[in-house]
């Protein structure tokens, strides 16, 4: 199929929507589809070959923060030309309610249009006020996708209508292999390696997430470390993620503090290495997770996982087959379960292998297949693809 993807935010600034569009585009190309992406970007910006720049994005206040968006006559005419030249079977617009390329593309095109809604927020005046302006564009969309239940609720509340749910994918390949961080034992990332069966340097537990967000449950893990850290004088704890780690660690007894290393916010590359540096990855979340992207990343890296028994994690971990579960918020149970895992190399090895298998269901290739099914559903009439609309249609 010939697919035209519209990304509303600047390509070179990191963000969830941009990452989604990039991963989707690459997964579609890998399965043999023709893909072109239009995005706000300078003409001389370094872009992959499948990306078409629509002009420089302007930072403007939008919906409570500053977003870099592209709008105006220049962008509109570039979008129009891209649609005319693209001869797409289906047009796929991301975040069409943002005042950027998405809404311009809906105006400029007729035919099968799919839209993906990413954002979720509380009832917003700005978007409700905009609803009548967006009406014409929204009514052209033939298939809507929401990336989460929260995004779907946001769509229903602000703009009306419904959407199918296709969650974000994980680029599992990106996490599969990495060297451990310097000074950390690591499992060397290979399931068949003896590194997985022998604890080096007393072993290490890992955590990744916002440090000062109680729902991420770091305080539970630290309390458990008070117990297990005393039983195992060489065990270390690796923490990564934004937030004030010092404040959290101040609650830990001084004699244990030296064995806790907080990396703070890490680069994508170091994040992967962190997953490969620990013997057990702990996800002590107290709730509020719809999916647990961190868990899926750790699974992709083949880390043996110990997670709290919340519904989302239970589902991803297949009722404990692909990762051990402990009662939510129970530090003593966490400590006991972590101890069992550290003492049982065979079980760690098995959990690691099961996790790598289970996470494939969340891989981008699987997600892209569902998205292609949406394309095939809206573009039943092959050949009657996307055409340029009449200027005042």
């Amino acid at each position: 199929m010939r697919v035209g993807l519209v990304c509303p935010y600047t390509w070179d600034v990191p963000g969830g929507v941009q990452q989604h569009v990039r991963d989707l585009a690459e997964a579609l190309i890998a399965s043999g589809h023709h893909v072109s992406v239009i995005t706000p970007a300078d003409d001389d910006a370094p872009l992959p070959s499948y990306v078409v720049p629509a002009g420089r994005a302007v930072p403007v206040p939008y919906n409570g923060s500053v977003a870099r968006l592209a709008f105006g006559f220049l962008s509109a005419s570039r979008v129009r030309r891209w649609i005319r030249d693209g001869k797409f079977d289906v047009l796929h617009v991301h975040e069409p309610a943002a005042p950027s390329l998405g809404v311009l593309a809906c105006w400029a095109a007729d035919g099968p249009i799919v839209a993906t809604f990413h954002a979720s927020y509380e009832k917003s005046r700005a978007v409700t006020v905009a609803a009548p302006i967006l009406q014409s564009a929204m009514e052209k969309i033939t298939g809507r996708i929401a990336v989460s239940e929260a995004a779907r609720t946001t769509l229903v509340e602000h703009l009306g209508g419904d959407a199918v749910l296709i969650p974000n994918g994980v680029a599992t390949d990106r996490y599969a292999m990495a060297e451990p961080l310097p000074g950390w034992p690591g499992r060397s990332g290979r399931t068949d390696d003896t590194a997985l069966t022998h604890l080096r340097g007393g072993g290490a537990l890992g955590f990744l997430g916002r440090m000062d967000e109680p729902r991420k449950g770091l305080q539970v893990l630290l309390k458990a470390f008070e117990i297990i850290g005393r039983q195992r004088p060489e065990l270390r704890l690796l923490l990564a993620g934004p937030g004030d780690a010092d404040e959290m660690c101040a609650k830990v007894s001084p004699e244990l503090r030296g064995r806790i290393v907080a990396l703070g916010l890490v680069s994508d590359e170091d994040k992967v290495r962190a997953y490969h540096s620990v013997d057990v990855f702990v996800a002590p979340n107290l709730g509020g997770e719809s999916f647990g992207i961190v868990l899926a990343e750790a699974m992709s890296a083949g880390a043996p996982i110990l997670a709290s028994d919340i519904e989302a994690f239970r589902r991803v971990l297949q009722d404990g087959r692909a990762g051990a579960l402990f009662p939510v918020g129970d530090a003593a149970a966490l400590a006991a379960a972590a101890g069992e895992l550290l003492d049982d190399p065979a079980r760690r090895k098995q959990l690691s292998a099961e996790a790598r298998t289970a996470v494939r269901a969340y891989d981008w290739s699987t997600v892209a297949r569902a998205v292609v099914r949406v394309y095939e559903t809206v573009a039943v009439d092959r050949g009657a693809g996307v055409v340029e609309s009449r200027p005042l249609g």
């Binding site: 199918v164 569902a370 559903t377």
Partner: protein, 180 residues
């Protein structure tokens, strides 16, 4: 200086023109919405027919035991031959039959081992998911046009022409649980 009566006439003509433009815009919007519903309905019908066809193919494939084959064939046949009134029930029954069959212990592994089995399972999974997608899109389009047709102007003037008001299509379309 323009006489008063001429000014009045021009004013009335101007107002009529603007009102006419507005009504024409509303009518073309309705037209567009009807076209969208028609396309969505065609997609839904295509998805349902395809799903029934694959269920029949699976039933006839000799991959299954005879009791399962019979069950699937009967449900698929009912879905294909149901009249407008019974369609929603028959399609829901097919969804339930498919779940009952595919969610049997070790069903997927058994079928996937045989020749063409894995392909058929993939196609079935795809067809079932497309039914769910197509129905959501159709009901979404239906809701939009039903709201638009409730507006006062549309009820007073025959803007919608003879187009029938589309009905929602309500079925149980949960696909069989994925093994992964």
């Amino acid at each position: 200086m323009m006489p008063d009566w001429l000014f009045d006439i021009l004013l009335v003509a101007g107002v009529l023109f603007v009102v006419g433009m507005y009504i024409s815009w509303r009518a073309s919007r309705l037209d567009r919405l009807h076209a969208r519903v028609d396309t969505a309905r065609a997609a839904l019908d295509a998805a349902l027919v395809r799903r029934a066809a694959i269920a029949l193919e699976l039933a006839a494939s000799r991959l299954l035991d005879p009791a399962t084959s019979l069950l699937l064939a009967a449900a698929a046949h009912e879905a294909r031959t149901a009249d407008a009134d019974g369609r929603e029930f028959a399609e829901s029954d097919l969804s339930r039959a498919l779940r009952a069959v595919v969610e049997q212990p070790d069903f997927r592994d058994n079928v996937a081992q045989r020749e063409d089995g894995a392909n058929l399972l993939d196609e079935l999974e795809s067809a079932a998911q497309k039914v769910a997608f197509a129905r959501r899109f159709y009901n979404d389009a239906t809701a939009t046009i039903r709201t638009a047709r409730r507006k006062l102007l549309v009820r007073l003037l025959p803007l919608a022409g003879n187009a029938t008001l589309p009905e929602f299509f309500e079925i149980d379309d949960d696909p069989p649980a994925s093994s992964r």
